[in-house]
Amino acid sequence: MTETSARAQPTARTRKPVNLNALLVEGRALVALVVIIAVFAVLSDNYLRPENLIIMTRHVAMNAILAIGMLLVILNGGIDLSVGSTVGLTGVIAGYLLKGYEMPFTALIAYPPVWVVIIVSLAIGSLVGLINGLLVSRLKIAPFIATLGMLYVARGIALLITDGETFTRLSGDPQLGNTGFLTVLASQPLGIPFPIWVMVVFALAFSLVLTRTAFGRWLYATGGNSRAAELSGVPVKKVQTWVYVASGFCAGAVGLLLTADLPAATPQGGSLSELNAIAAVVIGGAALSGGRGTVRGTIIGAFVIGFLVDGLVIIGVSTFWQQVIKGAVIIIAVGIDQVQQMLTARSAIKKAQVKTPLKTPEAVGAGA
């Protein structure tokens, strides 16, 4: 009896605020996206054509995957500037393995099969993340600095591996049994490019992790109130380390997709993509202070940026204006959020003011 009342009756009252807040924050990103689509749909008839939507979505996918990894880091209250370089590094590693590498101390050249290549690349990406994570969680180096250093190191290593060259000829060779890299990663199951599938899978997987697993709860907790989490026995340091690993893993995946997409492994791959990823996460309603943010919002954020940039190209806005507009949209998309919150606060105060005073000061004074 009390059971039911305790469980059923509140739903009506308390459920609302939960969704509302979430919706509002993401909602704003969604509004931005709708506006962008609407504007460009008017300005160009091609914008909404299915082929174009698919193409733009494929462009979004790369950034979205990076952004998902970045989201975890940001939920933890950190930041990862090294993802762009990690993309370059892992891509180069893949290219390096596919074209075959001399085994040390022997004259042999090894041609690992594609699945090995993929696993190794992802592992390298995760390793870079692990190093970031340890620097941040153990040595207590500010995430910004640790990952800034890694930004240079990873890019440098990528350049060293290729000596500045670009690896092509990634299709492999039946004799060597290392074919399939492109046929898989650049394929289009059901007419949908592979990267989009990856984005979908990652999105589902990571929102599962965030919403359904203990780790996800711990992550939000550490982001929201690290001390409370620690007192509740949450392995705060482990959580902090793993989010960077996740980010590195995502970067690795993007590195592979990018390489297959070109198809060529260039050490410059992914430059500056960290900024787009961060922008996507924040536009998607996450707080850089940590504890707030969702995969759904992040994906929307990625679409906002991608659809904007491509749209500007399609309607033929000059390269220079593209930059101005992109920057302005980032600021506005996040600004609306803040302004809105202030307005609600204002209106609350207004409401309080219209309430006519119940008792006059005198009355109380007399009472005293």
Binding site: T2, E3, S5, A6, R7, Q9, P10, T11, R13, T14, R15, P17, V18, N21, L208, R212, T213, A214, G216, R217, W218, Y220, A221, G223, G224, N225, R227, A228, A229, E230, L231, S232, G233, V234, G291, R292, T344, A345, S347, A348, I349, K351, A352, Q353, K355, P357, L358, K359, T360, P361, V364, G365, G367, A368
Partner: protein
């Protein structure tokens, strides 16, 4: 095991923070099925001992014995595994998470698939809420909850661990009287099942009410203990306050100057909690030389009122007059210039700049006073700093010492000194004695009354009835954002103050009440 067996024993435990010796070789026992109550002034070392028992802190000396066997409790997880759960004095919740998430955080229930079993957790949470007779949905974000409700979530979390030893460090500080009664029912139920309870509260009556065994701490030592029979307020207060300077300023100079601060029907909105009215039509006058005490439970809206007066929060409606001048639209800085400043509730969060020295903290608010030719004149600044350090008796190595090297009480004196340096005519203090120890407390009040004698108008918030009674010229009781009573400390009683603070009808507004024989009322 049988009722009354000693399950957990702290042997000669001591704890040192920097120079602060929080515990000085304490021997302490916890008994199965009994409620052991800890009394002690702020800073006596109660929480520190509890933190040691629950693995949050490690003792600097001594050791623990669990069920007769020596144990080391290194982490909170160790404690939980050993069946020890704690409700911390300060809330430890993640506001961005739901009630359910907070209850089970770190102890998730998993499905076979390895995911969190939300349904099961929801059910248990709902049951706990039902048990605490609170109607809160498990998926409500904790951030949206009232302080009291948040504290209930904290309690629910401890219950969910169903531990054999349950430590409650001031679990009721934000609860209303009725909520407290519910908690006591739960406690009674637990003890009958042999759970050992350690209970700490500054609400002496309620503590005495449920105590099976009482222990009194003072300055990090266990100074007295006895069983429930014959346990009464007198004994507690005597053993608590002990040799510490008793202060009673009730009969200080009664005739005050004219109205310095006039609060007229002020409303303050708590924008964080969905436009709730945190302060709802409050009117108070404070006269020059008068010390007014603002009593209430947590969540009564006192802090909001204080912060609105200081200029941090916006006053939604009503007027605030300083010597007849409306402060509307004035920034915090301008208000300080005009002579009204706030000593905030949370010293660490709002009072101090931890990275700065004692001197820099002291002069922060009055810096513009010592500007010569655009630059801060070291001479003028140091002079005023040294003067103030003498004046408020800060015990420090010198102006250059880091603020964090001071004891809580001295830190508080620095915050107060900072405001006094701006020579205010009205001083607002929110919980000025929270978490500071016996000696410093007395010094702070004598300081306030000395300034009052010099014509300063003082309005301070407290949650301790004792203070309200002994250290004020007038007691204003707030509940649920409204002023429910204005009382004269010479004529009123603890009981009256407390029942008024519940916001219950019969007490509201009453100023004339039968004077109580004993200054310290007994529970009905």
């Amino acid at each position: 095991m049988n009722q009354g067996d000693v399950v957990l024993r702290a042997v000669d435990v001591s704890k040192t923070y920097g120079v602060t010796r929080a515990l000085k070789g304490v021997n302490f026992e916890v008994r199965a099925g009994k409620v052991t109550v800890l009394f002690g002034e702020n800073g006596a070392g109660k929480s520190t001992l509890m933190k040691i028992l629950s693995g949050v802190e490690q003792p600097s000396g001594g050791h623990l014995v669990l069920h007769g066997r020596p144990v080391e409790i290194r982490t909170t997880n160790d404690a939980v595994d050993l069946g020890i759960a704690i409700i911390h004095q300060e809330l430890n919740l993640a506001p961005n998470l739901s009630v359910r998430d907070n209850v089970f955080i770190g102890r998730e229930l998993l499905t076979r698939a390895g995911t969190v079993d939300r349904r099961c957790e929801d059910e248990i949470t709902a049951e706990l809420m039902a048990r605490l007779e609170e109607d809160i949905h498990p998926s409500t974000p904790v951030g949206d909850l009232r302080l009291g409700q948040q504290q209930l979530v904290e309690i629910a979390r401890a219950l969910a661990a169903d531990a054999r030893i349950l430590i409650m460090d001031e679990p009721t500080s934000a609860l209303s009287h009725s909520e407290v009664q519910v908690l006591f029912k739960v406690v009674a139920d637990l003890t009958t099942h042999g759970v050992a309870i350690v209970y700490i509260s500054h609400h002496l009556e309620e503590a005495i009410e449920i105590a099976d065994h009482a222990v009194v701490f003072r300055d990090g030592e266990l100074v007295a203990q006895r069983d429930a029979e014959g346990l009464d307020m007198d004994w507690v207060v005597r053993s608590m306050v002990g040799r510490a300077a008793e202060y009673d300023f009730r009969d200080e100079q009664r005739e005050h100057g004219d109205v310095a601060l006039s609060i007229q029907d002020v409303r303050v909105v708590d924008t964080s909690a969905g436009g709730r009215l945190a302060v709802d039509g409050v009117s108070i006058d404070v006269r020059a030389g008068e010390v007014v005490c603002l009593y209430g439970l947590m969540g009564a809206g006192r802090t909001e009122l204080m912060e609105a007066l200081s200029g941090r929060d916006q006053v939604a409606s009503g007027r605030v007059l300083l010597h007849g001048v409306d402060l509307k639209g004035r920034s915090i800085g301008e208000r300080i210039e005009r002579g009204i400043g706030l000593v905030p509730e949370d010293r660490q969060r709002d009072g101090l700049v931890q990275l700065m020295s004692v001197g820099a903290n002291l002069s922060l608010a009055s810096l513009l006073g010592s500007i010569k030719r655009l630059l801060v004149s070291k001479k003028a600044e140091t002079a005023s700093i040294e003067r103030e350090i003498e004046d408020v008796k800060v015990k420090t190595a010198g102006p250059g010492a880091p603020i964090t090297s001071l004891s809580g009480g001295n830190q508080q004196k620095v915050v107060i000194g900072k405001m006094l340096l701006t020579d205010p005519t009205v001083l607002l203090l929110d919980e000025p004695t929270r978490g500071i120890d016996v000696g410093a407390k007395g010094e702070i009040f004598s300081l306030l009354f000395r300034e009052a004698r010099r014509g300063l108008a003082v309005l301070y918030v407290t949650s301790e009835v004792g203070e309200a009674l002994t250290a004020s010229h007038r007691i204003v009781v707030m509940a649920k954002g409204k002023v429910v009573a204005e009382l004269d400390p010479r004529t009123t009683t603890r009981q009256e103050i407390m029942s008024a603070s519940e916001g219950t009808v019969e007490a509201s507004g009453s100023t004339t009440s039968s004077p109580d024989s004993s200054p310290i009322g007994a529970t009905s």
